[in-house]
Symmetry: C2
Subunit: 715 residues, 2 copies
């Protein structure tokens, strides 16, 4: 009965995660003769896709399934089992897990639904299952996973009906937290003739989760780029480590993250808390660690197509040749919008081309016009002129439908393009619909990818150019980075402005000179010592927004005003917040005018402490002009954060203002990062609003600060 | 020889433009036996596409072309000629034009290149040609046009090789200023199985230009939507009239405008001039007149597909059913990003569904989960629940590749969807890859369009929902509009701040109280009359930015300060701008604090005077937070402009501020619009920077103004 007679090579079972893609022997538990059932499809697909390892159907119901001998239990299988697929009900999973452990199976994929996705009861069952698996030493992919696929080897450990159609193997890998949507991406990739090599759906991620698969993919020598469909990341640190490995291994990771509109529960106590949504942290981390985050699967697959063809632009400068003037303008627009440059050709080169083709636009973009139909040779000259320029990294060529519709034109244009690309070694991208004839075949063989839409083509080029540039920056930054001080900072009493600022000052951050006063006379004496004018504010752990309750007085010029203000503040507080604990009244220096900046720490549940930075006033909150990074943040990153602000020119002295002390602000951000790392155990949010950035050379001063502890009660 | 024996119906030759699409007899001048030449292709295509009117090849070289009798000259053709295609060199065009006129041909399409696109010499030849055509009473499409196509009748008056492939006729019309790119859009539409009915490429637009074709298309009863590829609009008024007709006729016009990165030559003298690029005016006009402006042809064709299926959402509220939870989140994200709402189902409905399918997410989006495979009936219940809701206008359904890959599932899902769509009368859009089998056919016959990408599908729905809503607003606004005063306003001396503000005040706009002083004593006396504190500024037609030259003093509290400031200002001017003409020193009231707003007029070369509005400080200039409208602007439009500003909440009293007098600001904008219309002959730019908007009830005051006249010298 058993047709699997030849000996198969043993797999390296020391790496349980690798078994998901390179198992040589697979048990299908709950195997079914119904080819369209969850227990039938994996066997059907493994055989259809030519998996040449051993397949062991496990079921007590049959002697054989599809000519393969069945076993009543995993324990009965004669040879080693690298991977078990569990097509059983949730209730039977624990028992099968025991069988697998007894058999020495390192890894199982649990197709079964009925766990955490069902709510509390399911979550408990899932937790018990994970506990059992850990005890038994078995790794789980799932539950509720649609399985994994290695199209290169025909390992199709999945019940997804997406395998009803044939898919080409290739150098891309896809990990998806949604089985169904992952399969849809695979279907789209196939429709676009893109080759996925590895594919994993991680389901509920009770054990094996996205970051671990990502790490595996970016280390895989046959994989050129990784696509990831992400709903939530469970282990931020592991994710960041995988991202860093991806950079080292030079495997671009293209991410579609869903859940943008879910800004999550917001705490209103601090500004930082109110500004930053959970999606912001994801986007910040993606950018910070060189991942390519895109909004749509279209964009993901556009980029994948270029990577599939080995397109890695050495820089952001593009040469354009277009059969259509309109398309030339579109391409130039798209370059401008995507941060790509289209450098003009040198005057003499332009003059030479103009003599040859008076009709053409020759500056770059080159508008070759319909003249190309009559004299295809001129195309060669245009190409030659562009590839010869050292300041052009990538060529983007527009030929519309013509190369597909008119065979001769297509062959000439494509032939010359392929030759020029090969000779110059520069990446070429074509915007065209070459059809499925000779032109299309020549393009494919010649290594020139084509996309239909000019805008999308340029955005994909820009994304990869940015990746290449960003990768270099990040790797250099890591090489030159000095060790980050991660020592814990002990808890302090930080539940009022005075406490928070004293704490900041203790860690090298300059704050307003200020003292606490408990009587009007003490206030006057403090003011005298500080020097007039001063500000008075209530200091209370129960009053976060002092202006709202009238507990703030600015610009007090003399003792009488200070005395009066002291009384007014206490009366306002007694009146408006009668239960507030009042530690005293803060007597504070008035800081000279400068540019108001908001800084903050927010502990993200996934990525840990994040550093926020934005301009004060309405900028950060209302206009959402802020930047965010995961701590630690070094000087270079802090500088980058500031420059990303739309309002950055204000700091440089836009509109006739004085240039502000950006250096001091960068120091403050780095100091805040040190605090964020050291206090990750006990600070939930820290809000500096504002720090006043004085003119260059004069530093910056924290004028107000608020800290929310992890217990949520201000300590 | 002549196979055209039957009598053809005569065309209505009173409308020369209509001849481009409904000619019944066509002369092809420069006809060629070479089927792939400019003079050969139109004949080949006319016959291949089944044009059933008469075709007259005109050439002295042959007796017949493709079985059609040739004529040596247009004059020799026996019957009437509705349209002549000129496939001749530029030099021969004038002579042929004479022939056409003699024959009574109302319209010609001039394929020939060699005119304005060549530069000055060509421009002159083109101008002479137009002059001749006007004299002869012949309308010209072109030169350098690729021609026109009416796929419904087989009128293929073009040499574009795009007709080498077959294209389906349908309810869409496309006008393109680029022949080559227009053909590429047609090729893309065909690849997507979209039917274009009418297609025109307008070439150099020496005579017939885009707006005229647009107007024809939006009036065409068989056309459901118009697509336009725009490089530049030549007649702004005609374009706006065509757009207004499109709204009345309810023909959505979807525009791709290229040339975004060309911000054009900027004049630095006024802020308005520096802020507004030429593309901004286009986008403002598109929005103002209800056109759908998109960035890419992808988006254009997505919208076209929905229109092709008659999808016109009655509102912006969407119901979602998805086979995949991930896709449900993606769709919800996309809705949030596009301004569409996804209203939750009523609690009792949710509870009922939850009882039926405990696995599912039932709030809306409905996550139907893979359970749908096992019990397709539950889909019917989900559908029923959503279509029954009055607060749901459109249904978006995600079924990925499954409906194409698994035949049974496809038929059930599609069948139920078609039935629900038909019964409810609500528009349905599917996100799926239905393949080309039964599911795809059922969808098509059932009137449900499908798109591949969730994000793109939602954006297309949102664009049409916005169109429907915007159309209603604009039509209502036009109905209720009172007559706009367009009477010219006579020139005035406006070349200094005092002159400009006196002019504004004369037209009902409140400006700072101020007087001109020529001596220190006069300044002190003026200040006394106005009341302290005051500001002093030089008044000179040669000094636009007073701060830059030290010619401005604020907050002067007494006579001595005024006297001192007067001298300082004059000395600074003498020192820094010695050649400046000084009219005096302006003594001005100090306006109490308020919110600073920038208003402006900029005469756009295409659309005439545009009204700009933005918040002061860095908002309008640095953050590009401004809105723009073509004058005239009514109160409702002015209000809309303000609400579009990202910083609008500042005017409403964000961050604890007082609400500003938005009503008065709206009055000021409307007043400015009246001035813009009345002075279109002589004001190039007008810059109010700032107008200070005081707290509600206190009005707003123009604190500074600058006018640049059309001669460019400030009058």
């Amino acid at each position: 009965m058993d047709r699997q007679t030849e000996e198969t090579l043993p797999a390296d079972r020391a790496d349980p995660l690798a078994m998901l893609f390179s198992a040589r022997s697979i048990a299908v538990v709950g195997a079914s003769r119904s080819e369209d059932s969850v227990g039938g499809r994996p066997i059907k697909y493994l055989r259809r896709y030519g998996f040449d390892g051993r397949i062991y159907p496990v079921t007590p119901r049959y002697d054989s399934v599809g000519g393969l001998r069945c076993y009543a239990s995993v324990r009965d299988i004669p040879g080693p089992v690298d991977l078990a697929l569990l097509a059983v009900s949730a209730g039977r999973a624990p028992e099968i897990l025991e069988d697998c452990a007894a058999k020495g199976v390192p890894t199982v994929i649990l197709f079964s639904a009925g766990f955490a996705e069902l709510g509390d009861g399911g979550r408990e069952a899932q937790a018990r299952l994970v506990e059992r698996a850990e005890r038994l030493g078995v790794r789980i992919c799932g539950p509720n996973s649609m399985g994994t696929i290695n199209l290169r080897s025909g390992l199709t450990a999945t019940f997804s009906a997406v395998l009803e159609r044939t898919h080409r193997a290739g150098p891309l890998a896809l990990v998806s937290q949604s089985g169904m949507y992952g399969a849809y991406i695979l279907a789209q990739a196939t429709a676009l003739d893109l080759g996925l090599g590895l594919f994993a759906t991680t389901g509920n991620e009770a054990d094996i989760e996205l970051s671990e698969v990502l790490d595996h993919f970016v280390r895989d020598p046959e994989t050129r780029a990784v696509l990831a469909y992400v709903e939530q990341i469970r282990d931020g640190d592991a994710f960041v480590r995988a991202a860093e490995t991806a950079l080292e291994e030079d495997r671009p990771v293209v991410i579609v993250k869903v859940g943008k509109s879910d800004v999550g529960a917001r705490t209103a106590r601090s500004h930082t808390g109110a500004i930053v949504g959970s999606h912001d942290a994801y986007e910040a981390v993606f950018r910070q660690y060189g991942l390519i985050s895109v909004d749509t699967v279209d964009e993901m697959l556009d980029i994948a197509r270029l990577v599939d063809y080995g397109i890695f632009p050495a820089g952001n400068r593009v040469g354009i040749i277009s059969l259509s003037g309109g398309a030339a303008v579109m391409l130039a627009d798209a370059c401008a919008a995507s941060g790509l440059e289209v450098p003009a050709l040198p005057e003499d080169v332009q003059a030479g081309l103009k003599r040859r083709v008076p009709f053409a636009g020759v500056a770059n973009p080159i508008d070759a016009t319909g003249q190309l139909f009559n004299e295809p040779d001129i195309y060669k000259e245009f190409l030659g002129a562009l590839v010869a320029q050292e300041n052009i990294d990538t060529l983007v060529l527009f030929f519309g439908q013509m190369i597909g519709y008119v065979e001769e034109l297509g062959s000439t244009v494509v032939g010359e393009s392929v030759k020029a690309a090969r000779d110059s070694g520069k990446p070429f991208v074509m915007v065209a619909m070459p059809g499925d004839g000779r032109a299309a075949r020549m393009l494919k063989e010649g290594g020139i990818p084509h996309l239909t839409d000019p805008d999308r083509a340029v955005r994909a080029v820009a994304a990869l150019a940015a990746y290449v540039e960003r990768r270099e920056i990040l790797l250099r930054r890591r090489r030159t980075a000095r060790g980050v001080d991660t020592a814990p900072i002990p808890r302090a009493e930080v539940d009022t402005e005075f406490g928070a600022k004293t704490f900041l000052a203790g860690h090298g951050i300059r704050v307003t000179r200020e003292r606490l006063a408990r009587t009007p006379a003490e206030a006057v004496s403090r003011a005298g010592a500080l020097g007039y004018p001063v500000a008075l504010k209530v200091d209370s752990p129960d009053i976060a927004h002092k202006t709202d309750v009238g507990a703030l007085r600015l610009g007090l010029h003399d003792a009488a005003s200070v005395e009066g203000a002291f009384g007014e503040i206490l009366r306002a507080v007694a009146d408006r917040v009668p239960d507030a604990e009042v530690r005293g009244v803060l007597v504070q220096e008035m800081v000279p005018p400068g540019i108001e900046v908001i800084l903050g720490i927010k502990r993200d549940p996934v990525f840990g402490p994040m550093i926020l930075c934005g301009l004060g006033g309405i900028h950060a909150e209302l206009l959402r002009d802020f930047t965010l990074r995961r701590a630690p943040v070094d000087r270079e990153t802090a500088d980058e954060m500031l420059r990303e602000l739309r309002g950055y020119p204000l700091l440089e002295g836009a509109r006739g203002g004085e240039a502000a002390d950006v250096d001091a602000l960068i120091d403050t951000i780095v100091g805040l990062s040190r605090i964020a790392v050291g206090t990750r155990a006990w600070i939930e949010e820290l809000d500096i609003n504002p720090v006043i950035v004085l003119p260059r050379g004069s530093g910056c001063v924290v004028a107000d600060a608020l800290i929310r502890g992890r217990s949520g009660n201000g300590t």
